[in-house]
Structure formats: C-alpha cells, structure tokens
Symmetry: C2
Subunit: 334 residues, 2 copies
C-alpha cells in the first residue's frame, strides 16, 4: 500500500532573485519500501543560501538541480516503515532528501541522529552542515589566536551566528554585521563585542571602523560585495579572509564589479580562501564532539526561524535573500 | 678629502603615472669615511615596480619616500675607501642605497657579494630580491605539483621570468603572458609551454583559454586587473593565486573596480594570498643554494635591460610601467 507525499520541484530557473513562480508543488505516490529499504517521513527540512547556486545550469561543486524534479537539501525525519534490519520504526535520521514530505530510500544515504539530548532539527543547523561550516573553516582557514579581531558578515544567519560564538570561545574580539535590530540584539545577547546594522548604517566603512578601531585579523565572509571591500580596507597585516559565501551577489543578473581595493591583498599580505564544508570532512569528529558539548552546556546558542508545511518551503528559501530569518531557517513538515 | 656624487631625489609625489618631473638630480659632497665606515661606489642600481608604492604618502609595509630626499633601492657597488677592517678596497657589496652614485656607510647595512662566479648585477635580479620573490612565494604559496598548470602574468619581467623557469624545473606546464613579441620569443626560448601577448590579443580570456585549455592550478599575479579576472575564470578547483603585485593598477588615479567574478573564490575553493619577500626570509639560504646552482648550470636564464648613468634612472623606472624592459631593469652607474 503506497503513501502520498508532496514535494517541491524546480519549475523554471531563476533569473536574478528567485520568485515563487520558479517552484511548483507536486504530489507523488511512494511505493512501499522494498527489501533493504525504508520509508522516511521528514519532520524538518533546511533551506540554505548555497542552494541558489544549484539553480543555475552550470558546472559547479555540486550538480545543478534539474527542471521538473524535486529539489534536494538537508532534512531530518523518522523511519515510518522499515524493511532494513538496521533501522526500526521511529528511528531519527538525517538525509539530503529535503524539499519533500517523505521518501523511500536504502539505508546507505541516511545518517542516524545521535542520542545527544539535543532537538533533532539542531542537526540541520548548529550541529549540522551550517555549524560544521562555521567550525571547520574558522579554525582551518582563520587560524584564530586569542585577542584577534574577527569581523563576521551575515552574522544573524545560521553559519554567522555560530562563527561569532566559536570566536568568543577562542577568546577573540567579535564584530558582527547583520541587517535587522532583532538580529543585532540577539547577537549582543550571546556576547559579541560590537555590532553593525548594515541596513541602517549610513556609511558601512565608517560603521565598521568605529566597531573595529584597531582593524581586523579575520574576516568571515558570508556576503561578498560591499562588506568584502570594507573588510579589505580595515584588514590588518596577515589577515585571513574565510570566503564562505557571497549572498549579496548570488542573484546578480549581470556580474557586479569586485572590490576596488584588491591591491591590499598584496600590501597587507592577506590570505583569502574559499572552501566547501566537505573539504574539511577530516574535522567532522572533532566538530561533533566540541559543538555538542558547547550546545549542551549553553556556551553556544542558536535561533531558528520556522515556516510550516512543504508548500511554504519556497517562501522560506526566498526569505533568505531578504534576510528575514534570524538564525537557522527551517521548514517544519510534520 | 670629500667625494662628489650625484643622486636622484623625489621632487613631487606622482598623481597617476609617474613623470620625469617628479624627480630631480642633485649633487652632494660625501665626507671621507669615519672610523668603522666605508665609501661605496655603486656600479648598478635596481628600479622595481614596488617603488611606486613608496611614492604615495601613506602607511605601508615600507615607509614612504620623503620629498627632497634621495630615493632608495637595491644596488651593488664596490668599496672605494675603507675605514672598517671587515672590508677592503675593491670588495663588492649589495645595499639598499641605490639611486645615487656613491655613499658613505657603516658596515652593518652592507652585504658582501658571494664569490659565486656570477656577474655582480645578478644579485639585483635573479639571485637577488626579484629571484627570491619568485622562488619563495612560488614554493610557499603556490605549493606546486608536477603536472600543475601555472599561469604567469608580467612574465617578461624579472620576477615573472624567474617564476616561469622555476615552474618548469618543478615539472609544471607554464602559460606566460607578456606584452611584446620580444618578451614572448624570449619566454619561448627558455621553455615555457604556451604564451599570450596580452597587448595584441583581441580577447584576453579567449587567448588564455586557448593557451590553457584544461584551466590553471597556480596563478602568479604580477599585474592584477583584467589578468586577475581571467585567472579566476579559468582557475581549476583548489587553485592557488600568488599575489605578488598589481602593476596594472598602481597608477590608477581612482581605484578601479575589482574582478566581477570574485564568487569563484568560494565555489572553486581558491586560495589567494599576498606576500612581501621579507615574509619568507627563512627560505633565503635554500633560495641562494638552489638558484645559484640553477644559474651556473644554465637551467635558469635571465635578461637585463640596462640604462646608463644616474641621470637616466627615472627613465628606467618610468619604462617599467610601459613594459619596456625585458627581464631585469637596471641602471649602470660606473
């Protein structure tokens, strides 16, 4: 006896900022799981800025989404039917089969959630890909030293908020940029040293200079664009730029010019390095150990913005680009 | 009894491209060397692109040149009078007291030239700062592997030409960009695999794509600007960008926009790193050993463009920015 499940498909490729019309809701009939298969009912799915890149039809580090097919992304769910001896009904799993209410799968692509006492959806945020993105790159590329000044853009998002708090644990001074007072207040509540509301600042450079009068040693870049130019301007010698994302330019219809002050890379001996979280898989165990401990002890806090129902997944995704989310943007599915 | 010596002073700070009128020739009376001092007669002095940066009145990794004072830079010369037991008349030394025919100094800032059998002025080029710039950064930042494709801009200059040949010794494929057919021919004669004349190419990106159809693993950047944008475009995953200089933008009156494709730094996981040769002083001994061996064995060749007389030093410097020099630009003083 099959199961009906709804999913979100890519209907058309966005040109510039994605719109609701680029997505369509469809209902599929799932077969009963065959031998070695399970049926997973998703409880939460993740929307992340990097997914915008997969909507272009071009070669990249992950293959493009296909038109007319369900999108993919991180999700947590529970086993509803099992034909595999390693999973029993009720087990919680993480998968890359988001953007759908349920799916049939073999055991291989599923990761059992640890019994850590943390809410399952944290494995889509601070204990999942965004948290690991923050943890691995901040240590590996950022090479933080106590007393370093760390500037974080997109600090109100899932990755940025984790970076800010990890940097505090590493005894750095943290300057956080975000786009709403709500985010700014939350960042202050978790201990960042100075904040910049880039949407209300009349001059971003002056605002960052005031927040980081001695300059910066590490820049964690989630946004690119004007923030990157400012970071080059205020960087101290031997600064490290962790190039995590450039959400400010992902939707540009025509490529915008880059920073006018690139020459500082030479004169200030800046290291600017891009990465994908999977480049640092060797740090996974250390990340899970440290971050679980920090979350359970309250040293690292996280916020969630939650939309309800698969039909609102496109809205949740679109809201990322207006910065409507505080912390991790999730869609609750069940 | 004193000695008359001519020197070049900074008369006014250039705005944009430096001009002859920014410099002035002056004659000074040098005293006889006191106890512990020597009189050095310079035989060759160096002009280098980085000196443009010192003509701005701004903080940088080296202090700005002062108006009305002699410029500074690398020079080789011989001891003409000595009041210091460690030097005898005729000894050859290297110093940072270029832009003048002679000077009085204590022994400390002078480096005795090794008795290597190589021409003294090579210590201003392939065996000196430009050679060490190439050698240290190519190994330390570039992390070359046999089979890597290395793209070098400004390949006809002192640093670029050394990089091309070191890369061949490291079994890389070398794609060299330069601005005259003479430079291109010379680069071919020393074994680079493909060349681009950026001044005659109708489309730089297409020219580089044709020269490096599989993309590039290392970009050695001497010029910034359009070459940097092209390098980002053709970079393969995990490419290393050695940011040595950006001569194309040193004279911009208004800062020009940077590359429009900065987002590739994230997606392709590019590492872009600036440096100053003095950051790698720990590699000096290894550099001198390897490079001396390579020069003496003919594995590394170098060219010189020589102007004669201190009065022509400004011309030699200005010619750097039109790319008139093939290889190391020198001024012969004696």
């Amino acid at each position: 006896m099959g199961t009906k499940a709804r999913e979100i498909r890519l209907k058309s490729r966005p040109h510039g900022l994605p719109e609701a019309s680029n997505f369509e809701l469809a209902t599929v009939d799932l077969p009963d799981p065959g031998p070695g298969q399970v049926l997973v009912r998703n409880t939460y799915m993740s929307v992340d800025p990097y997914m915008r890149g997969r909507m272009y039809d071009r070669p990249s580090y992950v293959p493009p989404f296909q038109l007319g097919e369900a999108l993919q992304g991180g999700a947590v769910g529970r086993i509803e039917k099992s034909n595999d001896p390693t999973f029993k009904v009720g087990d919680l799993v993480e998968s890359m089969s988001g953007w759908r209410e349920a799916f049939v799968s073999t055991a291989a692509p599923l990761t059992r959630l640890p019994n850590s006492g943390v809410q399952p959806q944290a494995y889509l945020g601070v204990l999942g890909m965004p948290g690991m993105t923050a943890y691995t790159s901040f240590h590996r590329i950022g090479d933080p030293k106590p007393g370093n000044v760390v500037f974080v853009s997109g600090a109100g998002g899932a990755v940025g908020a984790a970076v800010c708090q990890i940097a505090k644990i590493r005894e750095c001074t943290v300057v956080a940029s975000a786009g709403t007072d709500e985010k700014i207040d939350w960042l202050k509540s978790v201990g960042v040293d100075a904040t910049v509301n880039y949407k209300t600042a009349s001059n971003l450079l002056e605002a960052v200079r005031a927040a980081a009068p001695k300059g910066i040693d590490i820049y964690f870049d989630n946004v690119g664009g004007a923030h990157l130019e400012v970071a080059l301007e205020v960087a101290r010698p031997f600064a490290r730029f962790i190039e995590c994302g450039m959400i400010s330019i992902y939707n540009d219809k025509e490529p915008a010019p880059g920073p006018r002050n690139m020459a500082y890379i030479v004169g200030k001996r800046i290291k600017m390095q891009g990465f994908i979280v999977s480049d640092f898989l060797d740090m996974r165990e250390q990340f899970q150990k440290d971050m679980t401990e920090w979350v359970l002890s309250g040293r690292i806090k996280s916020q969630e913005t939650v939309e309800n129902g698969i039909e609102n997944a496109p809205k949740a995704f679109l809201d990322l680009f207006s910065g409507a989310n505080v912390g991790k943007m999730l869609v609750k599915l069940d």
